[in-house]
């Protein structure tokens, strides 16, 4: 059954350039990949140890917290929000799990208790911004400041250590398979989480609602999405991932300190935006965010290796942030013509 008038095509600009038929997201990810490859080649030519297994391992371990936390931040930013509190939750989780372990609670219970506690902090973030209509920037900034203070109060400003030996397995132990695969458990955890979050965000109906909420919140409401309830899920997820990262780092160093995670929130947000997410909401992907983290890890590593003053590394990362936003804007305009 069809209308008797002729079927008429959608009025879009004709697509002559093949590049224009690639989605903006893929174009951005492609560009970032290209930058990373070129940068790696240049580094490899000058410093032959750059792409050795050992150096890559160091990079991954150093930026594992950022990579795990960026998973949550990606969803938060897709919904049009932001979560600064991760930089407070991350050391908080390390300290809390340590304190609980020192009391003698079994390891699995200590971990579950810690994650429940940080999830509650995430829920508080969502509650603040839902109930009092506070922008998430302010709600999570308040949470960050409070936790920074709390972390110092609990530890007295000195690192705590002396956790049970078995606890160290998470951050230091290796997963061996038939002599071929040998991965740190912590990296395995990140890999599983990234695949899970990335796949769900692309294909799961509930997770995809984050794009609707960030793209047009009013329309999401009209479609019956319970936006407030959803934001609880999003901020609790973000906090939980920051908590997991905190537990891993406590295990890795067999110590917990309030000084963990300085400026971590900014590095994570930078990585997610370089990866193609838009702070206005509705855009972003796990793959892009992971490439963003990789890019920052490469830059930091390269500066450490080359002996150039590391003060310059933030200049480069900042410039890349501007460049990626600039590129995003240019691509958008070019495609709309």
């Amino acid at each position: 059954m069809s209308v008797n008038t002729q079927s008429v095509g959608g009025e879009k600009s004709p697509r002559t350039n093949p590049l224009k038929s690639v989605s903006l997201e893929n174009l951005q990810i492609g560009g970032l990949t290209l930058v990373i490859v070129i940068f790696s080649i240049i580094m490899q030519l000058n410093f032959p140890i750059f792409l050795t297994g050992q150096n890559i391992g160091v990079m991954m371990i150093n930026f594992l917290p950022e990579a795990i936390i960026a998973l949550g931040m990606t969803i938060v930013i897709i919904t049009g929000g932001i979560d600064l509190s991760v930089a407070g939750i991350y050391p908080f989780a390390a300290i809390i799990v340590g304190k609980i372990l020192l009391v003698g609670v079994p390891i699995p219970i200590a971990i579950v208790l810690t994650l429940m506690l940080v999830a509650a902090l995430g829920a508080t973030n969502a509650f603040m911004s839902n109930t009092f209509r506070v922008h998430p920037f302010i709600a999570t900034l308040a949470m960050l400041l409070i936790l920074r203070g709390v972390n110092i109060v609990i530890t007295g400003g000195a690192p705590i250590s002396g956790f049970p030996e078995a606890f160290g397995t998470i951050g230091q132990g290796r997963f061996e398979l038939g002599g071929f695969i040998s991965l740190r458990y912590s990296i395995l955890i990140w890999l599983v989480l990234a695949l899970l979050v990335g796949y769900s965000l692309k294909n799961h109906r509930y997770w995809r609602l984050s794009y609707f909420i960030g793209g047009n919140r009013r329309s999401a409401r009209m479609s019956g999405v319970k936006v407030e309830r959803y934001l609880y899920f999003v901020y609790m997820l973000s906090a939980t991932l920051a908590g997991i990262a905190g537990i891993i780092v406590a295990s890795q160093f067999n110590a917990a300190s309030n000084s963990y995670g300085q400026n971590l929130e900014l590095r994570v947000i930078t990585a997610v935006v370089i990866g193609g997410a838009n702070l206005n909401g509705g855009m972003g992907s796990v793959l892009g965010s992971m490439l963003g983290v990789l890019f920052i890890a490469l830059i930091y590593n390269a500066f450490a290796m080359s002996g150039i003053s590391t003060y310059w590394q933030d200049v480069v990362v900042g410039a890349m942030l501007l460049a990626s936003i600039f590129l995003n804007e240019i691509l958008k305009r070019w495609r709309s013509n």
Binding site: M1, S2, V3, N4, T5, S7, V8, G9, G10, E11, K12, S23, S200, N203, H204, R205, Y206, R208, L209, Y211, F212, G215, N216, R218, S219, A220, R221, M222, S223, G224, V225, G282, M283
Partner: protein
């Protein structure tokens, strides 16, 4: 035939404001029931009550013979009542299929989306209404008109029994309007009841099977189009007859104030020349996209002018930005008040003086608030904005009053030339007559006025001369008794 949807004695108040008073209203399956009324008459509230966004204080909503209580739009949709909103409720960065089926996607186990099924189901619905839209394309890549049609597809996907359309043609081009009419015809055949809200009486008479008129929250008339005419409807809407929707024409003979010679900016417009005299209203007629708005924006400095010369008061004029244009005395009343014209979340007063702040600052740049208040007050009186309190935010004004505020903003800049682009779009009849009158008075004071309008009656009723645009060129300039609907259409379409 029994109605599929019936609204009985509905009352709704917001604070002390009684918006709906004892309204009863019904739609039959396969019929189009038009709902007309001035802005603020209660049409939107009635629609929101039916669509589940607001709950009535008293009264009943009866669907298929059963009294319903509808708590939210989602529930309304599931019951078979879909509202196609004026502000589109789609998400531009998602695909057509995802937008149509949000929260109802076909899934595999554990809630993972079955993309193939989802896209097929969307394709089926799009085929039903005979529209060639790709389900996998992002919604943002389609025109606003197409998005409106995607909205309707979404409504259909709920097996809607009642579809409410709020000003569906306000953003559509002529061909898109025809397509919409075809879709409405198709829906009627399928037995869907349609509530059609519109300001454009012409299209209401073309498409409606019955017409209901709201005024001040009351249903004041229910007529069949065959036994009624536009004059009767207008009379019902305003409660008085408006004989003078258009003011007297001007007297000619003023000197040329603005002259354009060979303006070109391909591909939008080419070799456009015209002269505007003091005290005259020059109409720009033509189809949407024929270059009318583009020429106006180039003169105003909002877009770059490719080549050509502009003279103001005989002096050659170079304008590179709207700011320069305003300083020289050329003011442009934009066609899109929400996006380009008004600061919605700021006070009416701040909006009115926004284009002329320089007049109110002392040497150090500090604003003289008392002078601003006085000036603003005088303009509120002049263009008759209601409510008169100029400290309320513009977002809280009705559409007609927002448009008046925009006009006041333009007037406060003391223009020599005013270019009014669609000055009465989405505005009720009363406000329309007032705006026309204001434009004519402005011309009588010696200002040159250009009116761009897609509504032919407005061009006819208001203009002393009409320049007809076609494909980026002025193809004829009509004056006196040559100005007629037939002549304009002949030149604009051919």
């Amino acid at each position: 035939m029994t109605p599929i949807l019936e609204v009985k004695n509905v009352n709704k108040t917001f604070g002390a404001h009684h918006v709906l008073r004892d309204v009863s209203f019904s739609v039959e399956a396969g019929k189009v029931h038009a709902l007309v009324g001035e802005n603020g008459a209660g049409k939107s509230t009635l629609m929101n009550v039916i669509g589940g966004i607001h709950q009535p204080d008293s009264g009943e909503i009866i669907l298929d013979g059963t009294t319903m209580s509808i708590n939210d739009p989602w529930q309304a949709r599931q019951l078979g009542i879909s509202v196609v909103f004026q502000e589109l409720s789609l998400t531009p960065n998602m695909t057509v299929a995802e937008n149509i089926f949000v929260r109802r996607e076909s899934t595999r186990r554990f809630g993972f989306v079955n993309w193939k099924r989802l896209n097929q189901e969307a394709q089926t619905i799009l085929d039903h209404i005979g529209i060639n839209i790709s389900p996998t394309e992002l919604v943002g890549n389609y025109s606003v008109g197409m998005q409106q049609i995607i909205e309707i597809a979404k409504a259909i996907s709920f097996d809607a029994k009642v579809i409410i359309m709020d000003e569906p043609t306000s953003a559509l081009s002529a061909t898109e309007v025809d397509r919409l009419y075809a879709i409405i015809g198709e829906l009627k055949q399928r037995g869907v009841a349609i509530v059609f809200i519109s300001h454009k009486l012409g299209e209401v008479f073309r498409i409606a099977d019955e017409i209901s008129v709201l005024r001040d929250g009351r249903l004041v008339g229910h007529v069949e189009p065959e036994s009624s005419d536009q004059a009767q409807i207008i009379h019902l809407m305003v409660g008085r007859s408006i004989s003078d929707l258009y003011p007297e024409k001007g007297v000619d003979g003023g000197e040329v104030i603005l002259e354009a010679k060979g303006l070109s900016s391909p591909p939008q417009f080419q070799d456009v020349s015209f002269a505007l005299r003091r005290g005259e209203i020059l109409g720009f007629a033509g189809l949407v996209g024929s270059g009318r708005t583009e020429v106006a924006r180039a003169i105003f400095g909002a877009d770059r002018l490719g080549s050509g010369e502009i003279y103001l008061d005989g002096q050659s004029l170079q304008v590179n930005s709207p700011r320069e244009a305003i300083e020289k005395g050329i003011v442009y009343l934009t066609e899109d008040r929400k996006i380009m014209g008004l600061f919605l979340t700021m006070m009416m007063r701040e909006n009115i003086v926004a284009a002329s702040l320089g007049q109110f600052a002392n040497a150090a740049g500090i604003l003289r608030h008392k002078a601003i208040a006085e000036k603003s007050k005088s303009f509120v009186e002049l263009v008759d904005i209601r409510p008169k309190d100029d400290r309320i935010n513009v977002i809280n004004l009705s559409g007609g009053n927002q448009q008046k505020a925009l006009l006041a903003k333009c007037l406060s800049a003391n223009p020599k030339v005013l270019i009014a682009d669609e000055p009465t779009r989405g505005v009720d009849i009363g406000a329309k007559a007032k705006i026309h009158q204001d434009l004519r008075e402005l011309a009588n004071q010696g200002v040159g006025v250009i009116v761009i309008s897609s509504e032919l009656p407005e061009v006819l009723g208001l203009s002393d001369r009409v320049a007809v645009f076609r494909e980026g060129r002025i193809v004829s300039v009509l004056s006196g008794s040559d100005i007629s609907q037939v002549n304009i259409l002949r030149d604009a379409i051919r």
